[in-house]
């Protein structure tokens, strides 16, 4: 299996994740799509790490996961506070600031 295959796969998953963020109105699903994008990045890192015969790619994946976890925690905490105030997790209602 050549490097291109993996890069192609990660690109597609990255694209899907991006669509998810752009299209879905539900904040939680947007978060999940963000996680999906980070997964695509991990695939990329793993692929490069293999074809470069080096381990730093994989180490980086772990760091990315740590960041993902932290983001998830803070993101969901923010969603909970939003829910407490506005009883909604619909992205379009979060538009007090305009112009």
């Amino acid at each position: 299996m050549t490097l291109q295959h993996y890069l192609a796969l990660s690109a597609i998953i990255f694209g899907i994740g991006m669509t998810g963020v752009l299209v879905r109105r539900n904040l939680i699903v947007m978060f999940m799509s963000l996680e999906l994008m980070l997964n695509a990045v991990n695939i990329n890192l793993a692929a490069f790490s293999k074809y470069l015969h080096a381990m730093n790619g994989q180490v980086f994946i772990v760091f990315v996961m740590a960041v993902a976890a932290a983001e998830a925690a803070v993101g969901l905490a923010l969603i909970i506070t939003l829910f407490k105030n506005k009883e909604t997790i619909n992205a379009d209602e979060v538009n007090f600031f305009k112009g």
Binding site: L34, F63, V74
Partner: protein, 475 residues
């Protein structure tokens, strides 16, 4: 190994002090929570003194993972200034809005550690993680005031768009790593020099990464989040957010661009010149259309990012020194302005930060409005004040590297900018009071404003001391 420890000595110190802050926070009683802030100031001053780089040396640590030098130290000064002024400014704000939690100061403190790593990073991993630490801290700070739905919205928006942009940054990072084979700046630079820059791979990686950075410094196509987040977040936090994270992003960006992408300088100069022009013009034009002062200062923050980009596009040593100096000056001016804005209470019906609530303020609070006048004219870049020195330095860098057209755009923009800064002074001095808005300057915030005013005047008239700090910087 010994030398490596010294290279991250400041960060270690900061972490130890950070942990002590958490303990202090837990121990202190509810109404004495501001004590945490004062301790934070003490700790940061201690670290500042402990890690003074003697004579612009360069300690490279952990096999070129990161480096502690006068460059990083200069930015550390900016973070320290931002932290001290914001803490002083927010003591009264937090009490007034009933969110007097110790964690406010702790998280702020930890975010500075992230920024320090970002600035001294010479490896992509340290850069990325430092960036993310700062980002996470800022998401929390933006959404800190749970009860106020505006702060909530700021937090959510900042989080999602921030996460998305760090996703893009990361994706670009993988391609840069993949193409050059290593995460170390020096190796990347070596690879680019030997293999040339025309490869599509590297172009993709480069654009994606720089897009991620552009988000952090709120350059135009990637700035959309800034106005809403800055207007939503609690005012002292906005002051902090417009200065420290932006300075860290610029510090990291300069080091990354000047060291790692040095061979590809034509590409990123083009990249940033487009961004610079768009950012300045967009920031200034929309700021004119605002009549909420906080939102206007948000847009002015964007336009100032544009001016700093000119320094970056100049790509000479004078350029990044100018950016560092500009950041220091911008820190004083902006946080000073936000502190005063934070203290503005408007018993009238409209929300307190509208221009009308500034009407006739100079009669009731001459000192506060004089300070605001000084900040506004300094932001506009009128000479006797520090803002002019910053802009002057930046434009000299641009002209030195022959970018006269960019300097002209910058100069025209700063002329346009004067209009909306002046509008505040018009309402304060020339108009009669419509609403009974008032600024009760509590002790802490008045100290912050006083320090800011003194420094703005000092740098304006005797800038040589501050220029010497910046002079020793070498990327």
């Amino acid at each position: 190994m010994g030398q490596s420890i010294v290279s991250i000595l400041p960060e270690i110190l900061m972490t130890i002090f950070g942990l002590m802050l958490i303990v202090i926070d837990v121990m202190s009683k509810d109404e004495k929570k501001s004590g945490v802030g004062y301790f934070g100031i003490a700790f940061i001053l201690l670290t500042l003194l402990a890690s003074v780089p003697v004579g612009g040396f360069k300690i490279v640590g952990f096999d070129q993972m990161l480096v502690w030098d006068s460059y990083a130290y200069a930015f550390f000064i900016v973070f320290a200034i931002a932290y001290i002024l914001t803490t002083l400014g927010s003591v009264d704000y937090l009490k007034a809005n009933g969110i007097n939690k110790g964690e406010y100061y702790t998280i702020l403190y930890f975010s500075i550690i992230g920024m320090m790593f970002m600035v001294s990073a010479t490896d992509l991993s340290v850069l990325y993680l430092g960036l993310e630490t700062m980002a996470i801290a800022m998401y929390i700070m933006a959404g800190f005031n749970k009860k106020d739905k505006r702060s909530n919205e700021a937090g959510i928006k900042y989080f999602i768009i921030g996460a998305f942009s760090s996703g893009i940054l990361l994706y670009g990072l993988t391609y840069v790593y993949g193409y050059t084979g290593s995460t170390k700046y020096s190796v990347i630079a070596e690879m680019l020099r030997t293999n040339g820059v025309e490869n599509l791979n590297i172009k993709l990686g480069l654009v994606m990464m720089l897009a991620g950075f552009a988000f952090k410094i709120s350059a135009v196509p990637f700035h959309m989040w800034a106005p809403d987040v800055y207007s939503g977040a609690p005012t002292p936090v906005t002051g902090f957010m417009t200065v420290a994270p932006k300075a860290a992003a610029f510090g990291a960006l300069i080091r990354f661009v000047m060291v790692a992408l040095e061979p590809a300088s034509v590409q990123w100069q083009l990249f940033f010149s487009i961004l610079a022009v768009l950012t300045m013009t967009y920031g200034n034009l929309v700021a004119i259309a605002q009549n909420n002062v906080k939102r206007m200062l948000a847009y002015s923050a964007i336009s100032h990012a544009g001016y700093m980009l000119i320094g970056l596009v100049a790509a000479n040593d004078l350029g990044y020194k100018a950016i560092a100096l500009y950041m220091i000056i911008y820190g004083f001016m902006n946080i000073g302005a936000f502190t005063i804005l934070g203290q503005l209470k408007n018993k009238g019906i409209i929300d307190d930060e509208r221009l009308e609530s500034f009407a006739g303020l100079s009669k009731k609070h001459p000192l506060a409005s004089l300070a605001m006048l000084i900040f506004m004219f300094s932001l506009a870049g009128i000479p006797p004040l520090a803002g002019f020195v910053g802009k002057f330095y930046i434009f000299s860098a641009a002209i030195k590297s022959g970018l006269v057209w960019l300097a002209i755009v910058g100069v025209v923009n700063s002329a346009i900018a004067c209009y909306y800064y002046m509008r505040v002074t018009i309402y304060m001095y020339f108009k009669e009071a419509e609403y009974d808005a008032s600024i009760e300057m509590k002790p802490a915030s008045s100290i912050a404003t006083f320090i800011a005013v003194v420094f703005v005047l000092l740098i304006g008239v005797f800038p040589s001391f501050f220029i010497n700090i910046v002079k020793m910087m070498i990327v």
